[in-house]
């Protein structure tokens, strides 16, 4: 089992009142799954994804990732964990505008202990895999949205994570570009990468092996 959420609650205090963002979430994710999270706007999808990605904290419950109790880990240990196993893909791509495609891909490796020749090989590999060798010296502003998202995925994959978390990865793309991205996810999943995506599109959800529906912070 890759990860397990038990009775997760998250709330914020507002005017002396607790506002629940997540209520009693239980979820098991096995390695190799492709899960889609769906639900209306404001239902807590992103919140849940961020908790899985260890970028956000929760107030109650247990979270085990590869049998490590995330809820009781120190910040440093936790960040090591997601550094090693998790890759993020964002709706707004979040490439660094000051860096070229090549440099954007290289960046996550810089925060991990790779030698420069290893980095070169890995980046070349990714450029190849996503067919963007010709774009490696361009800046993000010189790419189309779909191409930027390709780079975003490539960057998430470069240090070969076990889990890819994607928050509406196709939200800013037209349907054809969206389809291409989903195909790539499907390929990745075939290769053994676990994927959790948030999506509004029924069609995209069908690429997944399982769908979780949220409403007002509760799983239905």
């Amino acid at each position: 089992m890759l990860l397990e959420l038990n009775n997760i609650y998250k709330w914020v205090q507002s005017g002396g009142q607790k506002i629940f963002l997540l209520k009693d979430i239980n979820l098991k994710v096995e390695e190799g799954e492709f899960i889609s999270i769906m639900g209306p706007s404001g239902s807590g999808k992103s919140t849940l994804l961020n908790i899985i990605g260890m970028l956000d904290v929760f107030n109650e419950g247990e979270y085990n990732f590869l049998d490590e109790p995330v809820h009781s880990l120190k910040e440093k240990h936790r960040s090591n964990l997601y550094k090693q196993y998790i890759g993020f893909v964002f709706q707004a791509y979040h490439l660094l505008d000051e860096l070229t495609v090549y440099e954007n891909l290289e960046m996550p490796l810089l925060y991990k202990k790779y030698s420069s020749s290893e980095r070169k090989a890995l980046v070349a590999d990714m450029l190849d895999k996503f067919n963007i060798v010709g774009k490696q010296n361009l800046f993000p502003s010189q790419l189309s949205g779909g191409q930027q998202q390709l780079v975003g995925i490539a960057r998430a994959l470069i240090s070969s994570p076990k889990l890819i978390l994607a928050d509406e990865p196709t939200g800013n793309l037209n349907s054809k570009q969206g389809e291409e991205i989903m195909e790539i996810f499907k390929e990745l999943n075939k290769d053994g990468v676990t994927i959790v995506q948030v999506t509004h599109s029924e069609k995209n959800a069908t690429y997944g092996s399982r769908t979780i529906n949220l409403l007002d912070g509760r799983k239905i």
Partner: protein
């Protein structure tokens, strides 16, 4: 990794050109001022650090403690040297020496004459025991053993004997002042490090008995103190300096002058450590061309540098935290991709260091320029070559690191604390809590700028007040010219006097000593005994001149008369002395007798008070003595002009000069105008003013740059608001007011804090002056308005640019 940091840092700088420019230039200004001032401090604090025995070397000097305060003389009575040589247990070396100013020196081999050689002393072996010189020819033991022996420095040897081996110079004959025949017995290398021991020619002390120093040596006794007769000692390494001082105290007591004791005066011998010589304003160094270094000036300069550097760093902090929102995305992404807080802090510090280094490069160029501008302030020996000294390089690097840390650490911490989650949620981070710090820092900047502005205006006001205040005598259209003592004969004197009188533009001429106010004074101890009251002992300044002197300077007689003839000494005293003697009416003082130097001098007149020195000092008791009873050998011609203005002044000066050249063919003609002398009284103040002008200018520039940056940032953030308001019909003025309100209130707060600080600061500075200008309220008002106008100007320009943009466009892009 590092390469990646630098790449992104550089691209960030490039994409935000305006902000980078502001940050770099304000730091560069602060840094260049710090470099220049740092060099000055370093220069002055590294004098005479290279002598192996530097901690054991002292100059013995004399302090006279009198009821009126202490007076200092760098010299000691000549017998002290011999007395110290006798009790040599605790002294490793004793070096009495006499400073001298020969008129010329002739090389008998080449028959060439060199005028006015400087840094010449009479010394003996002891001098070379105190200071270790490298001998290029001759030896320490024998070089100054007998009369008429001469040791030259390497520099002088090269000058007098060009292209000659040092050993070949030995034995050559040199003649001082046509009469003193010397034989060169040694050549020593000049000190290459910074030193106040600047002597170049050493004449054996035994020669002094037969030269122009004869009087200084032969007539010397324990009671006379001549500043030309000085003394260095070196204590033994195991001796206690305190015991040496005790021995000196004992000698001072044994040989005290009973006459002086009667006036309550006491002489003390003071051991001035070599390490303190460079800064001790009581006693001078030997290089009269350069002004003595002043610790207090260096300290205030240091403060100026620190403030400017702080101002520059503040711009950095303010703009960096303001820019934080722009970088939030980068931070969030980096964190989700595995960047730790520490790594991010390093990254931002690295960026700051890159900027600081850019600023440092710019500022090194700027420093060369500043070194030029401040050349008045900067000792001649200080050059940009100091930049190459290892200590200085280390200092520069440390300074850069300190500045990087100071200006980079806080923003780095702020930035690195951003939560990546905020970025993922596409939230703009609210930085409201950070803006308050920015406000404090901005207020701090304005306080400094404001204090500088007020201080500049007030110091300027005080200086013009001093220059315009009536000195009590005529200062315009009066000049004086001084003949050298050796060229002066009564015959030449009269010949020149007649020639000057013949020039039509000359109104009156007087032969005299110094002008009523000057840097030179002569004084004597006087006593006045009266039947009923206690006797009045005081120091009386004396002014010498012929019958025309008082008329030329328009000094009014209140009672009595001027001196009648040249054969007896009669006093015309000033009001201050009159009051000190206890008289209310000038008439009452007439005919009273003043005792001075065993003579009885009658008061024949009372003149109006005038300032004998700058207006910093109060008026001292003074007597005009006329020719002083002797057949006058006055050397200074005082000339008052009639109908001279800017146009014919050069012609008149030319006429005077040709008259001078007919009488003194060889001597330079140096006409000194009275009003220039008065200006020179305030050279220190005018330097302060120059410094303040610069500090103010730079402080304003830096603060304005910072303000510009913040205004640009706020308007950028508020582009949408401006657009909406414009669409709704707001005028340019209203927009300006809207945007300016926030910043103007900061300026106002700064003014409220700055005004009292400036007030007390200037009040303290003014305490040195006997005559003070008023700290008028309008100065404060004007400087407040200046600051306000500058701030408004900056904001106006920016608002104008941003609000003339098409409002629809700005709405669309938001």
């Amino acid at each position: 990794m590092i390469k990646n940091y630098f790449k992104i840092a550089f691209r960030n700088l490039w994409n935000n050109k305006l902000f980078s420019l502001i940050k770099i230039s304000s730091l560069a200004i602060g840094l260049s001022v710090s470099f220049v001032i740092g060099l000055m401090v370093y220069y002055d604090f590294t004098f005479d650090k290279f002598h192996p025995d530097k901690d054991y070397i002292y100059r013995v000097t004399t302090e006279f403690v009198t009821p009126e305060g202490s007076f200092y003389n760098p010299g000691v009575s000549f017998p002290l040297g011999d007395a110290l040589k006798q009790n040599s247990a605790s002294l490793a070396a004793v070096a009495p020496f006499l400073t001298t100013y020969p008129l010329h020196i002739k090389n008998t081999v080449t028959d060439k004459t060199f005028k006015n050689p400087d840094y010449v002393i009479y010394a003996d072996k002891g001098f070379f025991n105190v200071f270790k010189y490298r001998w290029l020819a001759g030896s320490k033991e024998s070089a100054l053993e007998s009369p008429n022996q001469l040791v030259l420095s390497e520099k002088r040897a090269k000058k007098y004997f060009p292209n000659t081996n040092y050993t070949d110079i030995i034995g050559a004959h040199m003649v001082y002042n046509d009469t003193i025949n010397m034989q060169v017995t040694g050549v020593v290398a000049n000190f290459t490090e910074r030193t106040d021991i600047v002597f170049e020619e050493f004449i054996s002390l035994k020669t002094a008995h037969q030269s122009d120093m004869t009087s200084a040596v032969l007539s010397s006794n324990w009671n006379g103190t001549n500043s030309a007769s000085q003394l260095f000692i070196k204590t033994s390494k195991n001796a206690n300096a305190k015991n040496v001082q005790l021995a000196l105290n004992k000698l001072a007591k044994e040989h005290k002058d009973p006459n002086e004791a009667e006036f309550g005066n006491e002489r003390k011998f003071y051991m001035q450590p070599l390490q303190k010589m460079h800064f001790d304003t009581n006693y001078y160094t030997f290089d009269f061309d350069s002004e003595l270094a002043s610790k207090s000036v260096l300290i205030s300069l240091g403060c100026v540098a620190l403030f400017l550097l702080l101002l520059g760093s503040i711009n950095f902090i303010n703009l960096n935290t303001a820019q934080a929102t722009q970088r939030a995305k980068e931070i969030g992404v980096r964190k989700t991709l595995g960047g730790s807080k520490k790594q991010l802090i390093y990254q931002f510090l690295g960026e700051t260091f890159l900027l600081t280094t850019c600023a440092a490069i710019v500022s090194i160029v700027l420093s060369f320029w500043l070194l030029n501008i401040f050349s008045d302030y900067i000792p001649a020996g200080l050059s940009s070559e100091l930049f190459a000294e290892p200590t200085v390089i280390i200092f520069v690097v440390l300074l850069l690191l300190a500045v990087t840390f100071l200006s980079g650490f806080y923003p780095a911490v702020v930035l690195s604390h951003f939560k990546p989650i905020a970025v993922l949620k596409n939230q703009i981070i609210a930085t409201n809590d950070k803006t308050s710090l920015r406000k404090y820092l901005t207020v701090f900047q304005f306080i400094i700028a404001q204090v500088f502005i007020i201080a500049t205006l007030l110091v300027g006001k005080q200086i013009s007040f001093l220059l315009q205040k009536d000195m009590g005598f005529k200062t315009e259209a009066i000049a004086s010219v001084r003949a050298p003592w050796f060229a002066m004969t009564p015959e030449k004197q009269q010949r020149l006097l007649t020639k000057i009188k013949a020039i039509p533009e000359v109104n009156k001429v007087s032969l005299a000593e110094y002008p009523p106010a000057s840097f030179s004074t002569s004084a004597t101890n006087t006593s006045y005994f009266d039947d009923t009251n206690a006797p009045v002992h005081t120091e009386l300044q004396l002014l010498y001149g012929d019958k025309n002197y008082l008329d030329i300077y328009g000094i009014e007689l209140l009672a009595g008369r001027k001196q009648n003839n040249d054969s007896i000494t009669e006093y015309v005293i000033n009001q201050t002395y009159m009051r000190m003697l206890g008289f209310k009416k000038p008439e009452d003082a007439l005919g009273k007798i003043i005792k001075a130097d065993g003579e009885q001098n009658p008061i024949v007149g009372v003149m109006k008070d005038f300032n004998q020195r700058s207006l910093k000092t109060a008026i001292k008791p003074l007597a005009f003595v006329g020719t002083g009873g002797a057949n006058s050998s006055f050397k200074t011609f005082h000339i008052s002009f009639a109908n001279v203005n800017g146009e014919n002044l050069p012609v008149t000066t030319k006429k005077l000069e040709s008259a001078w050249n007919e009488v003194y063919t060889d001597e330079p003609f140096e006409l000194v105008f009275m009003d220039n002398t008065i200006k020179r009284f305030y050279s220190q103040e005018r330097k302060t003013a120059l410094l303040l002008n610069w500090a103010t200018g730079l402080a304003i520039v830096i603060s304005c740059l910072g303000l510009l940056g913040l205004v640009v940032y706020t308007t950028e953030r508020r582009t949408k608001e401006i657009g909406i308001r414009k669409v709704l019909g707001a005028s340019l003025l209203e927009l300006n007011v809207l945007l300016s309100k926030e910043f103007l209130s900061l300026v106002l707060i700064a003014f409220i804090i700055a005004a009292p600080i400036a007030y007390f600061g200037i009040d303290y500075w003014l305490q040195d002056f006997a005559h003070k200008t008023k700290l008028s309220w309008w100065i404060f008002a004007v400087s407040g308005v200046i600051m306000l106008l500058i701030a408004m100007l900056i904001m106006g320009v920016r608002t104008y640019i941003s609000s003339t943009k098409n409002p629809i466009k700005s709405l669309r892009t938001e």
